[in-house]
Symmetry: C2
Subunit: 339 residues, 2 copies
Amino acid sequence: MKRVTIKDLSKYLALSTSTISRAFVDDKHIHPETKRIVLEGAQKLGYRPNPMALSLKYGKSKNIGFVVPEMTTPFSSTVLRGVQNVLYPLGYRVIIMQSDENPEIERKNLLLLEEFNVDGIIINLCHETFNQATYQQVMEKGIPMVFFDRIPPRTLDVSKVLVNDNIKASLMVEHLISIGRKRIVHLKGPSSIRNAEERASGYRRILTKHQLFDPQLLVEPQGMLFQHGRDAAKELIEKNIAFDSIFAFTDTLAIGAMNYLLEQGYRIPEQIAIASFSGTEMATIVHPPLSNVQQPLVEMGETAATLVMEKINNAVAPCQSVTLDAKLIYRSSTLGNPV
Amino acid sequence: MKRVTIKDLSKYLALSTSTISRAFVDDKHIHPETKRIVLEGAQKLGYRPNPMALSLKYGKSKNIGFVVPEMTTPFSSTVLRGVQNVLYPLGYRVIIMQSDENPEIERKNLLLLEEFNVDGIIINLCHETFNQATYQQVMEKGIPMVFFDRIPPRTLDVSKVLVNDNIKASLMVEHLISIGRKRIVHLKGPSSIRNAEERASGYRRILTKHQLFDPQLLVEPQGMLFQHGRDAAKELIEKNIAFDSIFAFTDTLAIGAMNYLLEQGYRIPEQIAIASFSGTEMATIVHPPLSNVQQPLVEMGETAATLVMEKINNAVAPCQSVTLDAKLIYRSSTLGNPV
DNA sequence: CAAAGTTAAGGGAACGATCCCAAAGTAACT
DNA sequence: AGTTACTTTGGGATCGTTCCCTTAACTTTG
């Protein structure tokens, strides 16, 4: 019950605490035989080092904060997997905070993490334009931050992990054109999110290039939930705006829209093809499965974790920006036949 | 940059550290005026107590482990929400571990959490029959555990949060019968999970009662993923076993099966009605949306967190078993018209 | 007015580990 | 034999807080 400490071991083996400690930290100033004895004794008494003592001594909690807009879609949880892959073996713990797409909650989460004494923060913003002062403030307190997916404006010099949004969005739109679609709707994300602008800009560029652009087709839903995708589709139909395909900012918006259309009896993809940008498992559990731009989510998490560790191990390490490559996956929602 | 400690404050105000401390812990042995001065000084210097010092002193890390089979479906993340609701305001951190439905990983996760010095563990087992010795061992080290959803066999006296699986499964099957279905398939969960048996038993009881039971209709998929639900549906079709409805152990299995049937051109619910047991958001994002037994997930998390806190605050508190009430939600997958 | 009680504040040990510094022992070389 | 160098071990400060134990000043009471 009672914790076995280095002192108990010291008494038991008639050795100083210094010597015991040396056996565990691979210090060279210890006789191999002594080390063996110590390790054996530790085994016997069931000694396990107390991480809290080190936390206090070195001012490191070995906690990393992971802040995301939500955890109900598989996006964040897949990235989390990558983060854990890297951090758990290093003895770091990961603490998750959900911001509910609400900048105010996001801000509170950051302050709470600071309170919790995390050594670093990996974050996917809810809206990029709101909490810049807070990010700055947190970093000034010596807590390194790494941003992924949604990153703050360039004015902030920070480490970040992103994908080539603009290009891949373009390619997906090209794909829709290649299967003969001419009235391509874009369900855009909020303007306060850079990726939303990037993807929309890719969309716009390609449509303009093919002389297919029509401002009526560029719609911005009220939010990022299924319901918002649904409402957007409904509005298009009710306004009698003709369209033969949809390219959505995220799987969530795409699925919301698709469900409305299916309910209304539209055939997907024959009448309306649907594609999105995300790469979550959700794209494969709906029927028909969604074509989308699949981001390397696990790798994003691993990269973000690696970047934050670099910052932790070297406070003056320069900020890095890593761009990962997203893949286009074609599924039934834009093709005639099931995969 | 440098942390402001109680000592800095002590020097700055020419007061002993004891007095400073007293101002923060609401000790009565301090003059109100002195207290005011201290709090003011703390504000000015930006003093914030260091939780790590307390962790060391009291041997409490203020970390709680949250172990789940997976985080990609919204089940666990919704429960997590409830857990966080309770624990974050109390200054407790939540550390998440994913077991991937693999008892070996689950075991490693538990040992890792022990290493991480958590004060308590909230867990949803992957399979109930494998790691009992480990659970016992962890609890003997003084780390309280609370189980939810999938709980260990009765031989282990532990705190747990569950729902009335058997009854609600029965009611859902009754519902299928009430809409005229006679050939009701059950996609059962693995026998190593008690809930699976409970729900299957409810199913069996009702079918038997109505003299509709046919062992051919009780199938156990190879696993718990979408793919497994899909494969199970495929096998039924290929074996030419007639059925007009499915009641699945989880949303995941139900959706997997439904997608296969939709691909094959079956009409849901006209030809085959589908219902499940879970209560995740997934049931509402597929088309048609699924009827299911909706568990109060957030409340489950809150209850589990409350139970674990009771155990932490009082090591000899008796184990409690809380049964929450699940609700039946009828959606288009068992009714003719969309909701 | 002295003894006892009350109130406010200070001193210092404790939590568990690491690591700097010192000390003792041994080996090697002039 | 004496100096130097190296190896191995021990002592004790340190991290930031709380809390037990004193101490000092002031108040009450017979």
